[in-house]
């Protein structure tokens, strides 16, 4: 299977600051990959590098086996919806469909028109007067109707109300199921990621902290609670992500591929949100002390 996204040592520098550093990824095709991380972590930079909007300062990235924006054929295989879903405010919805038709040889006009009527958008309405949700749906329609193999979305639902968000994801998932798309999208809302993503990438402070299939990640991370213990006495293959201790009790979040055999620990599964928060709250590579730990329910 081809890699949908393959990055090796990818880095992007702006003036003196590195927005992205040492990124190495190999996301297989046919997945919906979620990119999560705090503001300013470099998510938009990574997405724009993948979409060919930026060129790398260091390292390489390929999408579906080719350099992004390498030529018209490669551009046709990748759909991109930027943050805040820009559209031409003075052009009508129908004009935007014409744009898609004229600029994309693989344009599926039938699909586009069907989606527009399903969304109850008025073709003669200027795009600038659409609501946020409608604009996002228009941008998604334009990206889907060119029949790409890969779709890249930068916080597509961040500024949408819950209903618009749900409708957007419904349309997106239906297209993934119907067209066999690979998707890379970034979001703040872990709940949404949990629904739609089967691959996760956590990006913090311009570096990738963890990446992998969601099912593998959930299977390899555990909550341990038990009597107060010195973390140094844990098995060597167990990597501690977060720890908190009272005088009587220890609570740890660990990552390990081996089963937990120590009977003094109560082992519970970790939710995706907890996992993401644990990686987001780590500073450097060591475990987090209680003062740094965000409150996790």
């Amino acid at each position: 299977m081809n890699a949908a996204i393959q990055a090796s040592g990818l880095g992007k520098q702006y003036r003196r600051a590195w927005a992205l550093r040492d990124c190495t990824l190999a996301i297989p095709e046919g997945h919906v990959a979620g990119l999560v991380g705090p503001n300013g972590a470099g998510k938009t930079t990574l997405l724009r590098l993948a979409a060919g909007m930026l060129t790398p300062t260091r390292g390489t990235i390929t999408i579906l086996g080719q350099r992004p924006a390498a030529g018209p054929a490669q551009l046709a295989r990748v759909g991109f919806v930027a943050q805040d879903t820009p559209v031409y405010s003075r052009m009508t919805v129908a004009d935007h469909l014409r744009l898609g038709d004229w600029l994309n040889p693989g344009w599926d006009g039938h699909l586009a028109r069907r989606r527009i009527s399903q969304l109850a958008l008025n073709p003669k309405q200027r795009a600038g007067s659409l609501s946020g949700g409608q604009r996002a749906q228009l941008a998604l329609t334009l990206a889907l109707a060119k029949r790409p193999g890969m779709l890249i979305l930068d916080e597509p639902v961040a500024s949408l109300d819950p209903l618009a968000r749900r409708e957007f994801l419904q349309v997106l998932m239906e297209a993934v199921a119907g067209q066999g798309l690979s998707v890379l999208l970034s979001s703040h809302l872990v709940a949404d990621l949990e629904r739609v993503c089967d691959y996760l990438v956590v990006l913090v402070a311009s570096r990738i902290r963890i990446a992998g299939e969601v099912s593998d990640l959930l299977a390899s991370h555990h909550r341990l609670s038990g009597p107060r213990r010195d973390p140094g006495t844990l098995a060597a293959d167990q990597e501690i992500l977060t720890e908190s201790h009272t005088d009587k009790q220890s609570n740890l979040l660990v990552r390990t591929d081996e089963p937990i055999l120590d009977p003094t620990w109560a082992v519970k599964p970790v939710s995706l949100e907890d996992l993401v928060l644990a990686y987001m709250s780590r500073v450097g590579d060591g475990p987090v002390s209680p003062q740094q730990l965000k409150v996790v329910p």
Binding site: G30, H31, V32, R166, L169, Q170, V171, L172, M173, E174, V176, A177, G178, A191, E194, R195, V196, C197, D198
Partner: protein
């Protein structure tokens, strides 16, 4: 055609919820052998979940021998799960409904009823653990 629901707070994996809902539909007689399950596209268009989750659920059902995927045509129910037939199900459903009604009439609230149920459930399945 069966329509799936998703309970995000239950802590049960999504694909398992789908599997369970198919089991339930089969038990209740809402799905019968020969019926077609909704396509992955239809399910995700309604639930906004990852299509691979639906595929995983259907593969599990196929592994259990309850459904069979026919390429190009869909996924079809092959047999009902082994277990009590709909008549038995209906009998116990009626008995349960009567019990609940009399409990309510006796003044028990939902939490009381649930506590009674859970205690009885634990006792019963602990002693007859199979």
């Amino acid at each position: 055609m069966v329509e799936f629901q998703l309970d995000e707070t239950s802590g049960v994996a999504t694909y398992l919820q789908l599997v369970q809902q198919v089991h339930q539909a089969l038990r209740m007689g809402m799905l019968e052998p020969g019926d077609r399950l909704p396509t992955a596209q239809q399910v995700v268009a309604q639930l906004a979940i990852n299509p691979n989750t639906v595929h995983k659920a259907y593969r599990e059902l196929e592994r259990e021998g309850l459904v069979r995927a026919r390429p190009g045509l869909g996924t079809f129910v092959t047999r009902a799960p082994t277990g009590p037939d709909p008549a038995t199900q209906a009998r116990f459903l009626a008995a349960m409904t009567d019990w609940l009604r009399s409990a309510r009439a006796a003044g028990l609230g939902p939490d009381d009823i649930e506590a009674i149920y859970r205690t009885a459930f634990r006792t019963c399945f602990a002693e007859g653990a199979a």
